[in-house]
């Protein structure tokens, strides 16, 4: 095994250093232990919603190419299943996983034990209630009709109140943090925690409470969706990666200055995207042009992040063989670059003319939401859960199964949707072809997408089972983390 020379698994030998190192270890263990209940509540809820969303999604996916499956039942019609599945994914799984990871990271980075856990627990309870009410509302026919905001008003209120509790907690923690530099991860987390309520409230006010007139609704809707993807999920994902990658391999970020530059350019440019999804729509041209320009400019922060992670990991890529966290996180970071590049290409007018209104948009969304954010979240869970539960993951084989079925599942799905969407767009764009040509052209790709959905379902069930084992105390008791590729000699008698 080629372990780089600098990695020193043994703690330093001198007596003095051992003592202070012990102090650090105990302190860190105390902090981790204090986050245990809150983090596990959020993670358990998130994973439960993930399973539910995956099951809804698989049914919805089949209905697109076999529309008479379970047809005619109002709460299973595709037009309700699809938004239900997606909203549960973003508000149930993604947001709660993100908040769970953020809670643990905040505690670690503030270097103080978790205060006021009740704020978080009640926040989680209300949030779960909101998602549940929203899900039932959509299936019952109360969807608002706005993408990513389909949860009816009664659900939105619950979500917002829940969030206020969680944000209060975050601000208190930050207020009482230990003196010292605020690490880049916390910039991203603070940004995310402060941007989300404003974003969500603005959308709710401008679309539902004091609805604005006409096409601006669609503009606000698109602005909300894009900003949610970048400034809420993207921020949490990037911040997490900036902690996990250096922490796992034991090397500081290659260029911290570049990372801070990346943060500001990320915030500035990403927040102006949104209208590039409405190219040539009934809007003033300047709005759309501004978004296209902003999308292209987001390549600057993407490049800084990519460069930074690459340089940090240079010489250590082989460690991905061993660390689940590193594997998932690096996959996510690479997907983030791919996601940004696809976004830029899609917003070029000549390309948009073909791919607008096709499944390419869906593929792009899942590239960001799953291939980037969800994979980074999986990575963070593999790091955090043992540290709050006090046991190690039990089966390396299940971790590997989880990784490969997720990686192949989302890779296949995104590829199929991007290529299929392009084919669909070419048919759409040819007025000599009847419209049904475009529908027919995408059908084989949609069938393939259902297959990739099966892969993802397997992946999530495996992970949920493994997490359940940890939750119930069946993790491995060990002094060392669970590893993906044990040394040959050790494999005898194990998995």
């Amino acid at each position: 095994m080629n372990t780089p020379v600098e990695i020193n698994p043994e703690p330093p030998a001198s007596a003095n250093e051992v003592t202070s190192a012990e102090v650090d270890r105990v302190e860190r263990a105390l902090i981790d232990a204090s986050t245990r209940l809150a983090v596990l509540v959020f993670y358990t809820s998130a994973i439960a919603w993930l399973i539910l969303s995956t099951l809804l999604a698989i049914v919805a996916s089949f209905k697109l190419h076999a529309p008479d499956t379970l047809a005619g039942v109002s709460f299973l019609t595709w037009g309700r299943l699809s938004p239900a599945q997606f909203d549960v994914l973003i508000y149930g799984w993604a947001s709660m996983a993100g908040m769970g990871t953020a809670i643990w990271l905040m505690a670690r980075l503030c270097r103080t034990t978790l205060r006021h856990p009740l704020l978080l627990i009640s926040g989680a309870a209300f949030w779960n209630l909101g998602v549940l009410m929203g899900l039932i509302g959509i299936l019952a026919g109360d969807s608002t009709g706005y993408e990513w905001l389909e949860f009816p008003g009664y659900s939105a209120i619950a979500l917002f109140c829940a969030y206020l509790l969680i944000m209060t907690w975050a601000l208190i923690m930050f207020r009482f943090r230990r003196r010292g530099h605020v690490y880049i991860t916390q910039w991203y987390l603070l940004g995310a925690f402060l941007w989300f309520p404003w974003l969500y409230a603005a959308a709710q006010v401008m679309l539902f409470i004091f609805p604005i007139q006409g096409v601006m609704q669609a503009a606000v809707n698109s602005w909300f969706a894009n900003n949610l993807l970048f400034l809420w999920f993207g921020s949490i994902g990037l911040g997490t990666a900036y902690y996990m990658i250096p922490k796992v391999i034991g090397r500081p970020v290659h260029s911290y200055y570049l990372a801070t530059l990346g943060f500001w350019t990320f915030a500035l440019f990403s927040s102006w995207t949104g209208m590039q999804r409405l190219i040539d729509g009934p809007f003033p041209a300047w709005m759309i042009t501004a978004s296209i320009a902003a999308t292209i400019l987001t390549m600057i922060p993407v490049a800084t992040v990519g460069l930074n992670h690459h340089m940090t990991m240079r010489g250590y890529f082989s460690l991905m063989r061993y660390s689940p966290t590193l594997r998932f996180t690096v996959f996510g970071a690479v997907a983030y670059s791919a996601f940004s590049i696809v976004g830029v290409v899609m917003s070029l007018r000549t390309v948009a003319r073909i791919v607008h209104f096709t499944e390419v948009g869906t593929g792009y969304t899942y590239l960001g939401l799953y291939a980037f954010f969800t994979m980074v979240m999986f990575g963070s869970m593999y790091y955090i859960v043992p540290r709050v539960v006090g046991r190690e993951w039990r089966y390396a084989s299940l971790i590997k199964l989880h990784f490969w079925s997720s990686a192949y599942g989302i890779g296949l799905m995104v590829l199929l949707l991007l290529v299929g969407g392009f084919v669909q767009g070419v048919s759409l764009n040819d007025p000599t072809l009847p419209f049904s040509e475009s529908t027919e052209s995408i059908l084989p790709y949609l069938r393939g997408r259902s297959l990739s959905g099966i892969l993802l379902t397997v992946s999530h069930c495996v992970f949920a089972f493994h997490f359940g084992l940890m939750l119930l105390g069946f993790g491995r008791t060990a002094s060392v983390p669970t590893f993906l590729n044990p040394v040959e000699g050790e494999r005898r008698g194990g998995h």
């Binding site: 105990v26 796992v248 090397r251 970020v253 006090g390 491995r476 983390p481 194990g494």
Partner: protein, 62 residues
């Protein structure tokens, strides 16, 4: 901003990057990559070896 200021900034910033490490998990010490020892059928031995590494871990080791 002069070059020396710029480089001073870079160095200061690099110091900030080390914030996530401490004396027990210093830079250069991988935290998720220690050589594995498969304890599947040797849990007792492992538990003894793993015993009070930290006061917080011990109560969970049943």
């Amino acid at each position: 901003m002069t070059f020396s200021d710029f480089f001073a900034n870079l160095r200061r910033y690099d110091a900030n990057a080390a914030v996530i490490f401490d004396r027990e998990e210093p830079a250069g010490h991988a935290t998720d990559l220690v050589m594995p020892r498969r304890h599947f059928f040797r849990r007792r031995a492992a538990r003894k070896a793993a015993a009070p590494r930290s006061p917080m871990v011990a109560p969970n080791d049943r």
